[in-house]
C-alpha cells in the first residue's frame, strides 16, 4: 500500500480497540519469566557451548602477537578465535568501528578474541590466560582539546536526524549584531551509555552454511544484511530471531561483537555458541551517545520576537563516524528570519559514538531549551510565553512548507495550567522548604516523526484467529500490543483472537524499533496487510467489498452476517503487504511536540538535586495505546533526569577510555530519584503520518526533560549550570555558607 495522500476515515477510526489503555499482551510472559531473552533460549538448539569476549587493553595501536598456549590448555576450552586469525572483517551498516579481525586496535575494549568452552566460567578463566602483546600508539581522547580544529561535517545517514554541515538562512551575523537583546553561551553534554538492562547477547548455530542467530536486536532487517556483510556470506543464509529484547535505546540497532563472535566461535568449535557481553565491556566495546560542545546565539527585539538564531555543535568520533546532530531541532522549533546551524566533527580515538534514544535532539534540546530560558529572563518574559511568542506553523527554512500538525502551544498552555505554573515566582531563589531551595522549570519537547517502509503478513485460521507475522521488534515498548490492537480493529475481532509473532527475519521486513518510528510505521504495515486480508475474506464469503463491515468476529453486509472464521473454513487465508510512503513527509514537516515541566529541590547545603514532580504534555498524533505510550514517556522522562543530573561516561583522557564502565560507576536514576510523574496526551490525529494517524512518542519523552530540570535548578537557586550533568560539585561553590 502506498500512502501518498492524507488519510481519510478508515476502520481504525472506530477506536474499539486501538486508542484504548490496554495491558500488554506479553505482560504475563514478562512477569512470569516465560518470555525468554536471547541468552535464555536454552531449548532452541542442543549442545550450546559458552563464548567469552576478550576486549583490547589499549585504546589505540596494534597487536604484535597473541600467546594462546595457556588458554588453549585450560579446562573445558573448545576453541579460541583471535583477531589475528583473519583479515579485518567488513563493518555492518552505519557503524564506524570494526568489530573484529586484523591487528589494528581502534578503541578500548574492542574485541580481540573469543574463547569457547563447555561452561561460562571456563571460557572466562581461559580468556584471562591469553597474553596479548600490544604496540600502543598515542591517540586523541579530549573533545575540548580537539574542538577548535574540528571541520564542518554533515550527516546523511537518513536515520532521521541527518543534516548538512551548515545551514544558513538570511543574514545571521548581521541580524544578531543588530538585535536589541542577545544571548551567546556554550553548553556541554557528556558521553552517555545506553545502560539497558539486558546486555548484548546472542546464541549462534551453523547448519552447513546456514547461520541462525537468536539475538537481542532492535532492527532485524538491518541486522540480517549487516551480519551477512560482516561475515561475507549471502544474506539469505542468515536467520535472526529476536522476539524479546530487554531494552536497547539505540545500543542494539546494530550487529555488535556478541553476534559476530558467537558466529565465529560456533564455526570454530563446531557447536552452537551462547555469548553475552559482560557489563564491563558494554561501555567501551559498543556504541554510546557522544559528548557535545554547543554554542547557541539568540537575538531578539525587545518584544521578544527572535530575529536571529544560531546553534553550532561539535562532537567527536572515530574516522568514518558521524557527528551528533544536536542542531537538528533548532532548524524547526522556533521562528526567526536569520538562522545559522553548523555541525563540526573532531576525530577522536574513543569508542564509537552512535545513536542513543533521540540522537541529536536529546542533547540538542538540553542546550537549546536552557538558552531559551536564559533569553526569556533577559527579555523579562515568562519562559512559557517566550516560547509561545516564537512558535511557527511553517518550516522556518522554507515557509511554504507547513507542519503536518503542530500543537506545541497547546502543550505549553495545558501544561502550565496543570502544573500550577502561575504560582511560580519569576525571581529565582525565592522559595525555601526546610533545607531545600525549590524551583520550577519548563522546556519544550521536540522530535521528528519519521516515515519508513514496513511490511507484515496476516493469517486467518478456521477458528477465527488472526495471526500477525512481521520482523518488527518489541524492545519493551509495547509493539506486541499495539500490533494486536491494530489487527483486532481491522478484522473486527477481540484482542484475545489475535496472535502476534515478532522479531524473526523470516517474516516480512518491518520498520524495526528506532527513531521512535516503530509504532506508527509497523502498525501501518499491519493495517496494509489487514486491508488485503479483508479483501480476501470478502471475496471468499461472496460479499461486496465496499460495504462489508468487520465487527464482533463476523462480517456483515446488509442483513447478511457470517462468522469471520467461515472465510478460512476451507483453509487458512494469508495476506501480506507493506506500507510505503509518497512525499507527504517532504511537502509537510512531520514532528512531535511536548512541554516538560519539572519541580526540583536543591539542598541548600550539600547541593544535592532531587526532582519533586514532573509533567509532560505530548502532542504526537493518535495515541495507539495510552497505557504503553505513558510507560514510554515516563521511562523517557526518567532517562532525561539521568542525563540532567548524573549520567556521564567519565573519559580518562590519557588512557583513552570510559572509566566508569559498570552500573556501579555509571549511575542512572533509581526509584528514589523519581517521585511523581504525570503524562498528558493531547487528543489529536495527524492524517499525514499514515493510515494510523499516529506518530512516535518514545523519544519525544526524553527531548527537553534535561533542560527543564536544569531550568528548575536555576529557578531554585539562581545558579546557572551549562555543563551536564548538574552534579552537586557544580553548585556548592555558589550556595550559601554552612553553619
Amino acid at each position: 500500500m502506498r500512502f501518498d495522500t492524507p488519510a481519510t476515515t478508515n476502520p481504525i477510526d472506530q477506536l474499539k480497540v486501538v486508542g484504548r489503555p490496554t495491558d500488554r499482551i506479553d505482560g504475563r510472559h514478562k512477569t512470569t519469566g516465560t518470555a525468554p531473552y536471547a541468552y535464555e533460549r536454552h531449548d532452541v538448539v542442543p549442545d550450546q557451548a559458552y563464548g567469552f569476549v576478550l576486549g583490547a587493553a589499549i585504546a589505540k595501536g596494534r597487536i604484535a602477537a597473541m600467546l594462546l598456549d595457556e588458554a588453549k590448555a585450560a579446562p573445558g576450552v573448545l576453541a579460541i578465535v583471535t583477531t589475528l586469525d583473519m583479515p579485518r572483517l567488513e563493518r555492518g551498516m552505519m557503524n564506524a568501528a570494526y568489530l573484529f579481525g586484523g591487528p589494528v586496535v581502534q578503541h578500548y575494549h574492542q574485541a580481540v578474541a573469543v574463547v569457547v568452552a563447555e561452561t561460562f566460567e571456563q571460557a572466562r578463566a581461559a580468556a584471562y590466560l591469553i597474553r596479548v602483546d600490544y604496540e600502543p600508539e598515542a591517540g586523541k581522547f579530549d573533545l575540548a582539546a580537539e574542538a577548535s580544529n574540528a571541520p564542518l561535517v554533515g550527516d546523511d545517514s537518513g536515520e532521521g536526524s541527518s543534516g548538512p554541515p551548515e545551514v544558513r538562512v538570511g543574514d545571521f551575523e548581521g541580524a544578531f549584531k543588530a538585535a536589541e537583546v542577545k544571548h551567546d553561551e556554550s553548553y556541554t553534554t557528556p558521553d552517555e551509555s545506553h545502560a539497558m538492562m539486558e546486555p548484548h547477547a546472542t546464541i549462534a548455530a551453523w547448519d552447513g552454511d546456514q547461520l541462525t542467530l537468536w539475538t537481542s536486536n532492535q532492527m532485524i532487517g538491518w541486522g540480517k544484511r549487516s551480519i551477512a556483510k560482516i561475515l561475507g556470506i549471502p544474506a539469505q543464509n542468515v536467520r535472526l530471531d529476536s522476539p524479546y529484547i530487554g531494552g536497547g535505546f539505540g545500543g542494539k540497532l546494530f550487529i555488535r561483537a556478541d553476534a559476530v563472535l558467537a558466529a565465529l566461535g560456533a564455526k570454530a568449535a563446531q557447536r552452537p555458541v551462547k555469548l553475552a557481553l559482560t557489563r564491563p565491556l558494554i561501555a567501551n566495546n559498543t556504541t554510546h551517545r557522544p559528548a557535545t560542545i554547543q554554542r547557541i546565539r539568540i537575538g531578539a527585539n525587545r518584544d521578544g520576537i527572535i530575529t536571529a538564531i544560531a546553534h553550532e555543535s561539535t562532537s567527536g568520533n572515530l574516522a568514518d563516524g558521524k557527528p551528533e546532530t544536536a542542531v537538528s531541532q533548532t532548524r524547526l522549533l522556533y521562528a526567526g528570519a536569520n538562522r545559522l546551524m553548523a555541525m563540526r566533527l573532531a576525530p577522536l580515538d574513543l569508542p564509537e559514538g552512535n545513536a542513543m534514544r533521540a540522537p541529536g535532539e536529546a542533547p540538542g534540546m538540553m542546550a537549546l531549551e536552557v538558552a531559551m530560558d536564559e533569553m526569556a529572563e533577559k527579555l523579562g518574559l515568562d519562559p512559557v510565553q517566550f516560547r509561545i511568542l516564537n512558535d511557527t506553523q511553517v518550516d522556518p527554512e522554507n515557509p511554504n512548507r507547513r507542519f503536518s500538525h503542530r500543537d506545541l502551544v497547546g502543550c505549553l498552555r495545558l501544561g502550565a495550567e496543570r502544573f500550577g505554573w502561575d504560582k511560580r515566582n519569576a525571581q529565582p531563589a525565592q522559595v525555601r522548604d526546610g533545607h531545600w531551595f525549590v524551583g520550577m522549570g519548563v522546556a519544550a519537547g521536540f522530535r521528528n516523526n519519521l516515515l519508513t517502509k514496513s511490511a507484515a503478513r496476516v493469517r486467518l485460521d478456521g477458528q477465527g484467529v488472526v495471526a500477525v507475522e512481521t520482523d518488527m521488534t518489541d524492545i519493551g515498548t509495547g509493539s506486541y500490543t499495539i500490533i494486536a490492537q491494530t489487527a483486532a480493529e481491522m478484522m473486527g475481532v477481540a484482542l484475545d483472537k489475535v496472535v502476534v509473532r515478532l522479531g524473526d527475519s523470516s517474516f516480512p521486513v518491518a520498520a524495526g524499533s528506532g527513531g521512535q518510528w516503530g509504532a506508527n510505521n509497523s502498525t501501518a504495515g499491519v493495517y496494509a496487510a489487514c486491508v488485503k486480508l479483508r479483501e480476501a475474506v470478502v471475496q471468499r464469503l461472496g460479499f461486496n467489498s465496499a460495504d462489508a463491515v468487520f465487527a464482533d468476529g463476523a462480517v456483515r453486509s446488509g442483513n447478511r452476517s457470517v462468522a469471520l472464521a467461515e472465510a478460512a473454513s476451507a483453509g487458512e487465508l494469508v495476506a501480506e503487504d507493506f506500507i510505503e510512503y509518497g512525499d507527504l513527509a517532504k511537502t509537510h514537516q512531520q514532528s512531535t511536540f511536548a512541554a516538560h515541566f519539572v519541580e526540583v529541590g536543591v539542598d541548600a547545603l550539600t547541593g544535592e538535586v532531587r526532582v519533586r514532580r514532573m509533567l509532560a504534555v505530548c502532542a504526537a498524533g493518535r495515541i495507539l495505546n495510552p497505557k504503553s505510550a505513558r510507560s514510554q514517556v515516563i521511562g523517557a522522562m526518567t532517562m532525561g533526569v539521568g542525563a540532567a543530573l548524573m549520567e556521564e561516561l567519565a573519559v580518562d583522557k590519557r588512557r583513552g577510555f570510559f572509566v566508569n564502565h559498570d552500573l556501579a560507576g555509571y549511575e542512572v536514576p533509581v526509584h528514589a530519584d523519581i517521585p511523581h510523574q504525570d503524562v498528558i496526551f493531547l487528543d489529536e490525529v495527524d492524517p499525514m503520518s499514515s493510515p494510523m494517524k499516529a506518530k512516535g512518542v518514545a523519544e519525544l519523552g526524553i527531548c527537553g526533560v534535561g533542560a527543564a530540570v536544569a531550568n528548575a535548578v536555576y529557578h531554585a537557586t539562581g545558579i546557572r549550570v551549562r555543563d551536564y550533568p548538574l552534579t552537586l560539585d557544580k553548585l556548592i561553590g555558589h550556595l550559601p555558607e554552612a553553619v
Binding site: P280, T606, R655, H671
Partner: protein, 316 residues
C-alpha cells in the same frame, strides 16, 4: 574466576588455621564483595573457607553495658535490632544508607568492614593499580578521581574505604574482636583497624594472615542525636561522595566521623571540641592535611557543608 577449593569451617579457630595453612586462602561470608572481585580476577583465592556456619550471628549485651555484634550478623538484622536502633541509631542509619535490601540481607558485619575500594581502576585489570598489583602504579592519581580520597592519601594510592557501616562504628568507638590461627584472641580498636595507604595500599587492615573477625563490640550507649548523612549523586544505591556519622549532644558537643574521603573512616577526636563553633573550624582541622585532586577538590567544601547540615539537623 579461577578454580578454587572450598570448605566449611566448624569452629572459629579451625577456620583461622585453615586460612593460615593454605597459601592464597580466604574467608567467605556473604560473598557480596568477594565473589564480584573473583569474577573479575581482582581476587584470585585458591581456597575458600566458608565461615557462615560458625554461629557468630548473634547480638549480645556486654557486661559493660554495650553490645557485642557477631561477625556473621547480617547488615539487615543489625540495622533492625531494637537495641541498635534505640542506642546506636547512627549505626542503624548508616547500614540502611548502604547498598540495597537484597545485598544487606547477605552482607555480614565482618565482610562489610573488609569490603574493598570502589576506585574504578581497581576494577579494570588492564590498568595499573598499586592496590591490586603492588608496584604497577596508580592510574587514578592523574586519571578520573572524582570519587576518590582527599585526606590521608599517598603517592601510591588515593582510594577510599567505601563502607558506610564503618564510619558509624568509628564514631561509636567500636572494637574489633578476632581470633588468630594459633587460637589466641585479640581486640583492635576501629581507629587502628583500617590502615592508610602509604606505599603499601594493598595492605588495608591490621589483620594478620588467617586472622578471623569474630565480633565487633560497641561501648555503652553515648546518647545524643545520632545522625548519618550520606551525600551522593543519586538518592539511593550509590556509594557516598561524602558521608558524616555524628553523635551530637544538646550542648553542641559530640563526635563526627567522615566517610568517602580517605582510606579509612576519617575522625580526629581533637577537632570535636570545636563542634559547638560550627562546621568550618571542625573541617579545617579534619582536613588540614588534605591533598585533593582537581576532580575531587569539591569534597573539601562538601565535608564542611555536610557537617554543617548535620549540626543544623541536630539543633532542629
Amino acid at each position: 574466576m579461577r578454580s578454587f577449593t572450598y570448605e566449611r569451617a566448624k569452629t572459629a579457630i579451625e577456620a583461622a588455621a585453615a586460612v593460615a595453612r593454605t597459601p592464597g586462602a580466604k574467608f567467605i561470608a556473604g560473598g557480596t564483595n568477594l565473589l564480584d572481585l573473583m569474577k573479575l580476577q581482582i581476587e584470585t583465592p585458591t581456597h575458600l573457607v566458608d565461615v557462615n556456619g560458625l554461629k557468630l550471628d548473634t547480638i549480645e549485651p556486654t557486661p559493660e553495658g554495650g553490645l557485642r555484634i557477631g561477625a556473621l550478623v547480617r547488615n539487615t538484622d543489625l540495622a533492625a535490632d531494637e537495641r541498635v536502633r534505640r542506642d546506636y541509631a547512627v549505626l542503624s542509619r548508616a547500614l540502611l544508607a548502604g547498598a540495597s535490601g537484597q545485598l544487606r540481607n547477605r552482607a555480614t558485619t565482618a565482610g562489610n568492614l573488609l569490603q574493598r575500594t570502589r576506585c574504578p581502576y581497581f576494577y579494570d585489570t588492564a590498568q595499573p593499580c598499586n592496590k591490586r598489583q603492588p608496584g604497577s602504579g596508580c592510574s587514578a592519581l592523574d586519571g578520573v578521581s572524582r570519587q576518590l580520597g582527599i585526606v590521608g592519601v599517598s603517592d601510591a594510592c588515593i582510594a577510599t574505604n567505601p563502607s558506610d557501616m564503618a564510619v558509624a562504628m568509628r564514631a561509636l568507638d567500636a572494637v574489633v574482636e578476632t581470633v588468630r590461627p594459633d587460637g589466641a584472641g585479640r581486640t583492635i580498636s576501629i581507629a587502628e583497624f583500617h590502615r592508610l595507604p602509604g606505599d603499601t595500599p594493598h595492605l588495608e587492615t591490621a589483620l594478620e594472615p588467617g586472622e578471623l573477625i569474630t565480633a565487633v563490640t560497641l561501648p555503652p550507649p553515648v546518647g545524643g542525636r545520632q545522625i548519618y548523612r550520606k551525600v551522593r549523586d543519586r538518592a539511593s544505591y550509590a556509594f557516598a561522595l561524602v558521608s558524616v556519622a555524628a553523635v551530637i549532644h544538646q550542648n553542641g558537643t559530640g563526635r563526627v566521623a567522615v566517610g568517602g574521603v580517605a582510606h579509612k573512616p576519617w575522625r580526629i577526636e581533637a577537632a570535636e571540641a570545636d563542634l559547638p563553633r560550627g562546621s568550618k573550624v571542625v573541617t579545617e582541622q579534619l582536613l588540614a592535611d588534605a591533598k585533593p585532586t582537581h576532580d575531587n577538590a569539591f569534597k573539601r567544601p562538601l565535608v564542611e557543608r555536610t557537617i554543617g547540615a548535620v549540626i543544623s539537623q541536630a539543633r532542629s
